[in-house]
Subunit: 340 residues, 3 copies
Amino acid sequence: MTPPSFTSGELADRFGLELRGDASLDIEGVATLARAEPGQLAFLANSRYRGQLGDSRASLVVMRAEDADAAPGAVLIAKDPYTAFAKMAALFERRQAREPGIHPNAVIDPTARIAPGAHVGPFVTVGARSVIGEGSVLGPGCIIGEDCVVGDGCELIARVTLVTRVRLGQRVLVHPGAVIGADGFGLAMDSGHWIKVPQLGGVVIGDDCEIGANTTIDRGALDDTVLEEDVRLDNQIQIGHNVRIGAHTAMAGCSAAAGSARIGRYCLIGGAAGVLGHLEICDRVVVTAMSLVTSSITEPGEYSSGTPLTDNRTWRKNAARFKQLDALARRVLAADKETR
Amino acid sequence: MTPPSFTSGELADRFGLELRGDASLDIEGVATLARAEPGQLAFLANSRYRGQLGDSRASLVVMRAEDADAAPGAVLIAKDPYTAFAKMAALFERRQAREPGIHPNAVIDPTARIAPGAHVGPFVTVGARSVIGEGSVLGPGCIIGEDCVVGDGCELIARVTLVTRVRLGQRVLVHPGAVIGADGFGLAMDSGHWIKVPQLGGVVIGDDCEIGANTTIDRGALDDTVLEEDVRLDNQIQIGHNVRIGAHTAMAGCSAAAGSARIGRYCLIGGAAGVLGHLEICDRVVVTAMSLVTSSITEPGEYSSGTPLTDNRTWRKNAARFKQLDALARRVLAADKETR
Amino acid sequence: MTPPSFTSGELADRFGLELRGDASLDIEGVATLARAEPGQLAFLANSRYRGQLGDSRASLVVMRAEDADAAPGAVLIAKDPYTAFAKMAALFERRQAREPGIHPNAVIDPTARIAPGAHVGPFVTVGARSVIGEGSVLGPGCIIGEDCVVGDGCELIARVTLVTRVRLGQRVLVHPGAVIGADGFGLAMDSGHWIKVPQLGGVVIGDDCEIGANTTIDRGALDDTVLEEDVRLDNQIQIGHNVRIGAHTAMAGCSAAAGSARIGRYCLIGGAAGVLGHLEICDRVVVTAMSLVTSSITEPGEYSSGTPLTDNRTWRKNAARFKQLDALARRVLAADKETR
């Protein structure tokens, strides 16, 4: 397999970028500024790192116009160098070829429909009435339950489980270990014993969503759990039943949204952050890492909870005082009154 | 497959509920008040939502007697409408038929014993000396290691791993991706290098437990890790070795109990909450979401830690002061003394 | 299978420990002091539990010299009794025999190389150009993608996924459900829509590492994600792309390190603790459970964040005051000034 190669001029043309320097440089890969070798493309997205330009061995660097003076070699000019770099880097990605066809050991229910251009790998099962779209890939060990739809151009890398009534849009990418459409956590107490509330809904995942490794998305109790288009979930995320996540929202690893929470569009939920059930978060909200959203958020902006990290000795002293905080505040307010 | 259908009168009789209204209404499904169509049953569990009754198209609604006046149509009266609804909804659940028998590609150790009425799906392995009980289901991709027991009427939906020495009681439900009986995290430092402490115990799961998707329960180091009957674990939960969880306790998604923790009966552990190792929590304790239990709890009640969410700017100011909290408290107390 | 048996004298000789008491006792297993039966070895690592010695039925107990007077029976003397016990306990571990050879249903790419002494279980796939080392075990359901290397003497218990470009050193132990080498979470915003930043790096895992059940380790964007030798990760951990973890560091369950974080050697990261991206933590740092590391740590020691658990009523009052903390502090400081 010959690695792909492009000249600096070809890259400029293909992505509509201004080239400053030699148009005939052969570019055969991408790297960080610090690690790039001759023949590689790097990027400078943050002007703080301009100092690295002098030492970099990269043949070509994509950056903003205002940083270009500091570059000793060939430069591509982009308004958003990171985005431009991401697009160019995709040219050099060596992706596994997945030929259309169904592996002979796959177990396909006779009522399932697999598009002729789909790839179904080894040790895959597809359940009754499920549909796999054109050009989609079910990698090894994927389990597609009953009444599921995988749209066109989806890729389920490996060992993905769609339990039941899960509908993926087009070009959805799901990483290994993800479980979509398991029972929501619905319980009712009946004479001292739990009984299970049937989970009759499904899951709807919009076009261009990405679901991380070992992430779980439960199906709805009555209505569906919904991810609108272009939602991006990192690894180890938990999405409870009947959650709705707006388009273009991204959630970082280990975050969670409890049952019936509604998260708006263009939100960024930080790592290990949590959203309690039945809350609503409006569009364009940022929640910082390990924060807990305990009431609805109606204004765009950045939100946080938690306390800062300190050495344990200092933390112990301050944390002990947290237990007295209300009492302390009362003293302060009382003293304040006295002196007035 | 004809969908199930019951008259309003049949439902009242079957569940011992008082019916107010027409006994001959055909009920073919369940839904929320807001989304119900004619022919569907809905519920009103919280009087706050009484206002929705007028707009609902549900043919039949289950609710408490005190809310019934507000209902324009047929009503079932229940002391606990949510529990009653859960039971009725189960009638309408379309569950996958899993015929008894062993899939031809399953790999069963000759010393394993599979009950004749059990279902063993494709791509399943069952290890030496393991036993699968009557009416139990091992969905696709399940891996049952050595010396495991799956009781009668269990359902391992798909891709569940019982590593070794795991004993499930009766009617245990396990969701995809769960790993039960992996090595506990036992390490000892030996001349600057970790050595592994062998994990010789097992896991015992009581009757009627439910284990969520991608949840992990480690086996004990010497004694067993134990879940008593009717324990309900949501997704993405981590249970360390030698933990013991009392009957009827429920833990929400992403929560965790570290090694040798003991949690009582009828506890509710909130999402992403944690319990440190070797602690004891008595019966009927509620721990709110993302709280960390750092010492034993001996009184029933609700417990919390953490700080409230605010906009990030406000949070930064307050969080900075947290670092000075002990110093501030000292000043307040000193000033207080002076003025006395 | 006869269970292994050793005399007390043989154990003393084998591990270089001083024996006080009868050298001919038959030891056939290990247990806790509280549960041991005659014929079993127990340990006393913490002098606090000396009181249990009198009641224990253990035939032999390993402990420090200073505790030995309190022991009624035979004793092995060790400087570090827990480590000594761990080593002896390993003798009694009944481990599954995994014969060399490739299960007939495994799907191996013709360009993959499997050492003759390796064990490849049922429902395993090994992708193009991947190499499996001598004496290594791929348990049932493991998926090895393209361009992976599994060193000698590794054990992938079951259902482990190495996605692509993952290199394991020697004697690496990986528990079920772990996903190593999935795409890092790299996104760039392009005209209101996310585009994916290709993840072209790999993952390098050093010798003697252990990776817990359902843990995820993403591959690097450009360079590799790296775990140095003897790193120990518990279950449900998330390691972002391009993280580097120093040798002998241990991370407890549900903890996480975000992209490009660097954690030093001999660190201990507590359960559910988090490390933000691009930070650096020096060697020998302890982070307590559920703490969030929000800036680099340059001094060894123990670090914490969070607030203590209290009953919910008290917590609510104190938490409400946290929102006023800056204002309160200002009042205190102002009052202080006035009185000076």
